[in-house]
Structure formats: C-alpha cells, structure tokens
C-alpha cells in the first residue's frame, strides 16, 4: 500500500515538474495520470497493490472535496446577495453541459462508426468517402 501510494506520488511529482518546466496548461496530476496509463500499457497489467490502493482512494473521492467546499463559509455574504441567479446559472449550465456532451458523443460515435473506426478521417469528408 505504501509502495502504491509512493508510486502515485511519484507520477504526480513528475507531472507537476513537467507542467512547470514547460509551462503546460495541463495540470500536473492529470499529466501524471496520463503517464501512468502509458506505463500500464507498456507493462500490460496493473500491479495488485496499486489496484487495491487506487480503488480504496477512489471509493472515497467525495471526501477529498470537503475541505475546499467548507470554503463556502468565507463567501456566504456574496452567495446570499446573488443566491437565486447564481444557483439558477449553476443548475442550468451544468445540466446543459451534461446533455450537450452526451449528445455530441453519441452523435460522433454514430458518425464515425463502424467503417471510420479503423481509420479515423477528418469529420468533413467522412460521409462521402468511398470505402
């Protein structure tokens, strides 16, 4: 478990260093995540201890947002001043984003499958392209 935790931290560290060195807009932990996927691909399997630690950590992912969320206490005045428009904005924009994303993904999957899956081509000429 300690080895697995250390591995996660090492990947995060590499990610942060890369992000800062090259001034990348991608956050360090996300780079670390992509690197770890790459290493797992090369390795061909997830070590059991890493699997267990990751599952344990992700099972309580919501816990990790609580400290930032309690920060609401600092902004109670601002929030109260604009409570209704703010909540309406958050609710509508979040649901619109979810539905648009799901629709786009469903649409593009239909668009590119099944023939386009083997050789993805630019969206504009997919439909006309003879195969």
């Amino acid at each position: 478990m300690i080895a697995a935790l250390a591995a996660l931290l090492v990947f995060q560290l590499i990610g942060e260093v890369l992000a800062r060195t090259f001034a990348l807009p991608i956050p360090g932990p996300v780079i670390g995540m992509l690197l770890l996927v790459g290493v797992l691909l090369v390795r061909g399997a997830t070590p059991r201890s890493l699997q267990a630690t990751a599952t344990g950590l992700l099972a309580h992912l919501s816990l990790l947002f609580i400290p930032a969320g309690v920060g609401v206490i600092v902004h109670l005045a601002t929030l109260q001043r604009a409570l209704l428009p703010l909540l309406a904005t958050l609710l509508m924009s979040t649901l619109i984003t979810t539905v648009v994303t799901a629709s786009l993904l469903t649409l593009f999957r239909r668009w590119f499958s099944p023939t386009a899956l083997a050789q993805p081509s630019p969206p504009s000429d997919v439909q006309e392209e003879p195969r």
């Binding site: 919501s62 816990l63 600092v74 902004h75 703010l86 979040t94 619109i96 799901a102």
Partner: protein, 242 residues
C-alpha cells in the same frame, strides 16, 4: 467559547494543532456517508453536501475561521492529487473501448468544454451577475485546483471559484445521471463521460457508483476537460470582452 479554565486550555491546544479539524473532517464525512447509506442513497443527502453543512455549522458555533480549519483539513485536500493520478487505473482497464471511440471522445470533449464555459458565463450574464462573479464562474466545471488557478489568472476570486466548483459538482452528482437517463442515454461510458466533463471529481465519484466503466470515462473527461478549459477560458472571455 468554554468558560472553565481547564476547558479553555484544552481548547487552545486543540485549536493550534491540525489534529482537531482533520479528525472533524473525517468524522463529518463518515457521519454523512452513514446517513446517506441509511437513507437508501437518497440523492439530496449527498454526503459532500451534508458534511460541508455540518462543518460550516460547527465552525460558526465555535467561531473558528476558515484558515484555521484548512490548516488541519489540508491533509485531506492534498490527496486530491494522488487520487487524480489513481484514475489511471480504471482508465487503463477500459483502454480498449476508449481507443475504439477516440475521435468522438476528443470532439465531444472540445464541444462540451466550450458549452460548459459559455453556458455558465452566458446564463450568469443574462441573470445579471456581476463581472467578478462571472469570471469566477467560467472554469466551474473542472476540478478545484485547476479552476482556482484559472480564476486567478483571469481576475476572478479563486476561493469563490472553489465554492462554485463544488456546488457544480454537487448539482452534477444530484441531477446529471437522472436527466441523462430520462433523455434515454443508456450507454454507461457516454453518461460517465458527460457527468465527468460537466461535474469533475464529485461527478466522477457519482459515476463510480453507476459502474466502474462510467467512473473510468468520467475520470478521463474530468482530467482532459481540466486541460481544455484552462486553454479555452482565457480565449473565450477575451472574445466576450469580459
């Protein structure tokens, strides 16, 4: 606060160590999670909401400021980094499906990310929110640490952004899956991807409850949207003249 001198001594000690608020955070979460399970996972009793409400109440009652609380709770907050890296594991187990739909995923990511920013700023503007709040709102769909960085860069209030991000996550966790199901989106990878994109880690936590597959795609969407939003927000806000 306590009037008894001994209690005051104990309180002064506790108030100075990270122990008290770290413990309080874990207990609040455990209590909220227990309640959530007991109530048959009723969405409105989302453990994040209940735990935050509980802690805010306790901080107000004990007259503790947020910085003091965060000095203790930061150890939990820190784990967000390694947890993000850990999303590589579910992602790797679905790599086959992911490869098969790579191009649709990238296009949906770009479209969804732009929608997230424009919908938030657009609706907020229509409803008369002030510019500082609009700027704090722009990166609300992505994970807290990145969103706070963007907010600072574009002249928002980072700590307000953190709160809006959490609220967005909670809204996503409460309603997104139900809305998608009602609109007949059955594919778990599609639902997971959409929820993770719109509602970052809290949405991903919710998607993990749907299935590991939904969780893996949610984690992917959350990670990639963090990067895309970081690039799009400054560009789109400049276009909108904010």
């Amino acid at each position: 606060m306590p009037t008894n001198p001994l209690l005051t001594d104990v309180w002064v000690y506790l108030a100075q160590t990270p122990l008290l608020w770290l413990t309080a955070t874990l207990l609040a979460y455990l209590g909220a999670d227990w309640l959530y399970q007991r109530a048959g996972r009723m969405p409105l009793l989302n453990p994040v909401v209940v735990a935050i409400a509980l802690l805010v109440g306790i901080l107000r009652l004990t007259d503790t400021d947020y910085q003091t609380y965060f000095d203790g709770a930061q150890f939990v907050h820190f784990l967000l980094g390694p947890a993000t890296v850990a999303l590589a594991i579910p992602l790797y187990s679905y790599i086959g499906r992911l490869r098969a739909m790579l191009l649709p995923l990238v296009l949906a990511l770009l479209g969804g990310s732009a929608t997230g920013i424009l919908a938030a700023v657009g609706i907020g503007w229509l409803l008369g929110l002030e510019p500082t709040i609009l700027r704090s709102l722009a990166p609300k769909s992505i994970t807290t640490p990145i969103a706070m960085g963007i907010s600072e860069q574009i002249g928002g209030i980072p700590s307000l952004t953190a709160v809006l991000v959490i609220l967005t996550g909670i809204i996503g966790a409460l309603f997104a899956n139900e809305v998608l199901l009602r609109l007949r989106f059955r594919d778990e990878s599609v639902r997971g991807f959409a929820i993770g994109l719109a509602a970052h880690g809290i949405g991903t936590a919710r998607a993990l409850q749907i299935s590991t597959e939904a969780g893996a795609f949610a984690g992917l969407a959350m990670g990639l949207n963090g990067a895309v939003t970081a690039i799009l927000v400054p560009l789109l806000l400049r276009l909108l003249g904010l």
